[in-house]
């Protein structure tokens, strides 16, 4: 099984402050890989580093065996990595349709209609809201839109940064269900960054734990879910 994405001892900094310490992870094809950790552990930094901003100061980011460490963000996106950023970041004053068009900006417009149909099967709500301004959607719908927008570029790898952020448990379940479905039906490779360890570990085939910018544990989702220290640190009191 080949790796879609491989981080090889990646370190990155915000000015003098080191946010990632020699992080190495592997994302195998057709799998859901999750990275869990507390607030400020460096999860989002890792996502951003994959996209070249901040650029990794040492180590390499490999995508299908190709070194993409120094590339600007827009070129990385054009290679087939799509991101649903933390906090959703939909374009609030643009309609759902325009948001989706923005996602399709880097690919052939001829695929647009077909992709749209796929998106609507996955998230029927977006079809109902098609002409509506994204800023007027509910949080869950905005998250669906953020994921859908990323999918419009027909990525080979989908990066999801905290899709559960600020959402009701029922909506989280829906979103995670959609991610699972995507992975199962289309074989899409997903790297999921989450604070919601319980849900993420259930979903993922492979998982990493990030603490203070360092990987402390890895294994299959089920393995980590069973570990007492994970339970103590991330799952106690969680639903």
């Amino acid at each position: 099984m080949s790796n879609v994405l491989e981080l090889d001892r990646v370190s990155s900094f915000y000015g003098p402050i080191q946010a990632l310490r020699e992080v190495s992870i592997e994302v195998p094809e057709n799998q859901i890989v999750t990275l869990i950790g507390a607030n400020g552990a460096g999860k989002s930094t890792l996502m951003m580093t994959i996209f070249g901003d901040p650029r990794a100061r040492s180590g390499r980011v490999m995508y299908y065996g190709e070194d993409i460490t120094g590339l600007p963000a827009y070129q990385i996106a054009r290679k087939g990595i799509a991101q649903s950023p933390e906090g959703r970041r939909v374009f609030p004053r643009m309609s759902v349709e325009e948001n989706l068009l923005m996602g399709a900006q880097v690919v052939d417009y001829r695929d647009y209609a077909a992709n749209l149909r796929k998106i609507f099967t996955l998230f029927p709500r977006l079809e109902e809201r098609f002409g509506q301004r994204a800023g007027t959607l509910s949080g869950g719908e905005q998250q669906m839109l953020a994921i859908a927008r990323a999918l419009m570029s027909m990525p080979k790898l989908l990066l999801l940064d905290e899709p559960s952020l600020g959402l009701a448990p029922l909506v989280i379940k829906q979103i995670f269900g959609a991610i699972r479905e995507l992975n199962r039906e289309t074989g899409l490779t997903v790297l999921l960054v989450e604070q919601n360890a319980n849900q993420a570990l259930r979903l993922a085939q492979r998982a990493y734990v990030l603490v203070n910018g360092q990987l402390t544990m890895q294994g299959t989702g089920a393995e980590l879910l069973a570990k007492p220290e994970i339970r103590a640190a991330y799952l106690e009191g969680a639903h």
Binding site: I76, A82, R89, E98, G103
Partner: protein, 426 residues
């Protein structure tokens, strides 16, 4: 009773500040006595009147806000939006026919030229500020580049207005890119400061490079635009417009011609903007305004997108500058002060950033109203300022703050104004 007490306290505080400001201005008048010496007098009644007026106005405003909590504006917006579809064509027809109205004084056509110039500048700046969301306080720089390009090229190489027009636009666009590069990483206030400085730099260079630009004395004697080689001259005779068509030469012919030039240039700006908004580039500008980080993660080349916004905005600014120089036949650095940038920016913001029709309405208000109020003399700017304040209170996001989706392939949702979104409703 409690809200009333709070209002009173608020109004008292505002009145206190009014006292601080008006105290010296109104309360302590300077006057010449018989001997020609300056004496400082006091005017307690006038001061009390001014402060009292401020107190009551503030109280009234608060009461008004209490009676009309918030709605009003959104409902009004939607109505305006619907009406926009009719207003725009009506305005266009009026704009085309205006100079031909019989008995219209030349001064009105001239005012039309002035307003149209600002409409064009507003539309040009709207690309940068309204669509791409890059706050540009130095737009006058491109206006100046366009004007001086035309002046220098026509004076030194003998080219006419129409030959110089594209050159002026291209040179301005070039400077737009030059400005764009260093400010790529800046946002918001910081971007505004640098663009402000850029506008000043261009003006200072023009002022001080005396050997090229004539410095503060300006440049004089640029050729007037001609109509397919026909000049507009009061003398008449062969080779002039009046001579060719065998009509009596009159000043309005030249003014009307200038009016149609600027109308055509402005409409070109509008057309390009509307076209681009439906293209991926225009959509990328708007997305950039909304969220730069999201844009980057979607594979948008943020650098190029910003630079094209600066370049295209500057291009039309250059056009307007070229026209301005041709119309005046005289330019000097005085025409390109920060005040111009501020006026154009005010037009864009007042119109509702991003709205093309809003720019037209705002330009009419900003340029037309002060001219109309000439008879009120010193109170002119006071009333004008008051009008602007009131407009921003009633319509805080500009005349037309709703934005219609530029694409509608499928089902349509309702129109939801920016007012509602910003308030978390809708």
């Amino acid at each position: 009773m409690r809200p009333l007490a709070r209002d009173l306290k608020d109004a008292a505080a505002v009145a206190f500040f009014a006292f601080l400001i008006f105290g010296p201005f109104i309360g302590l008048p300077l006057s010449n006595n018989q001997a020609g010496n300056l004496t400082l007098g006091t005017r307690p009644q006038a001061l009390a009147l001014a402060v009292g007026a401020v107190f009551l106005a503030r109280l009234g405003l608060l009461a008004w806000a209490r009676w009309h909590p918030a709605p009003l504006a959104p409902r009004f917006t939607i109505k305006l939006q619907g009406a926009g579809r009719f207003i725009a064509p009506v305005l266009l027809v009026f704009a085309v026919l205006m100079p031909l109205l019989p008995g219209l004084p030349n001064a009105y056509i001239d005012l039309g030229v002035l307003i149209m110039t600002y409409v064009m500048l507003g539309w040009g700046l709207n690309i940068v500020v309204g669509l791409a969301g890059l706050l540009d306080l130095g737009y006058v720089a491109f206006y100046a580049v366009g004007a001086y390009s035309f002046a220098l090229i026509s004076l030194n190489f003998g080219l006419g207005f129409w030959e110089c027009l594209p050159i002026a636009g291209i040179l301005a666009a070039f400077w737009g890119v030059c400005l764009g590069f260093p400010v790529l990483r800046l946002r918001g206030d910081y971007l505004a400061i640098v663009t402000l400085a850029f506008g000043e730099i261009i003006r200072l260079v023009i002022t001080n490079w005396v050997s090229l630009t004539g410095g503060p004395n300006g440049l004089l004697g640029m050729p007037q635009p001609s109509l397919f080689g026909l000049r507009f001259s009061m003398a008449g005779g062969p080779g002039t417009f009046a001579g060719f068509f065998h009509i009596t030469p009159a000043p309005w012919q030249r003014t009307a011609y200038l009016y149609y030039i600027i109308l055509a240039l402005a409409l070109l700006t509008n057309w390009v903007t509307l076209r681009l908004r439906k293209q991926p580039l225009g959509r990328a500008w708007e997305a950039l305004r909304e969220d730069e980080i999201a844009c980057r993660s979607l594979g948008i080349n943020v650098r190029n997108t910003k630079l094209t916004a600066f370049a295209i905005g500057a291009f039309f600014g250059g056009f307007a500058g070229c026209f301005f120089a041709a119309r005046q036949s005289f330019i000097s650095p005085d025409s390109f002060t920060f005040m111009e940038s501020a006026t154009v920016l005010a037009i864009v913001v007042l119109g509702g950033a991003g709205s093309q029709l809003g720019v037209v309405l705002a330009a009419c208000v900003m340029i037309g109203v002060p001219q109309m109020l000439q008879s009120l003399q010193i109170y002119r700017m006071l009333i004008f300022g008051l009008a602007l304040v009131i407009i921003m209170i009633v319509r805080p996001r500009g005349f037309i703050s709703t934005r219609r989706p530029t694409v509608t392939l499928g089902k349509r949702g309702g129109v939801i104004g920016a007012d509602l979104v910003s308030q978390g409703r809708g």
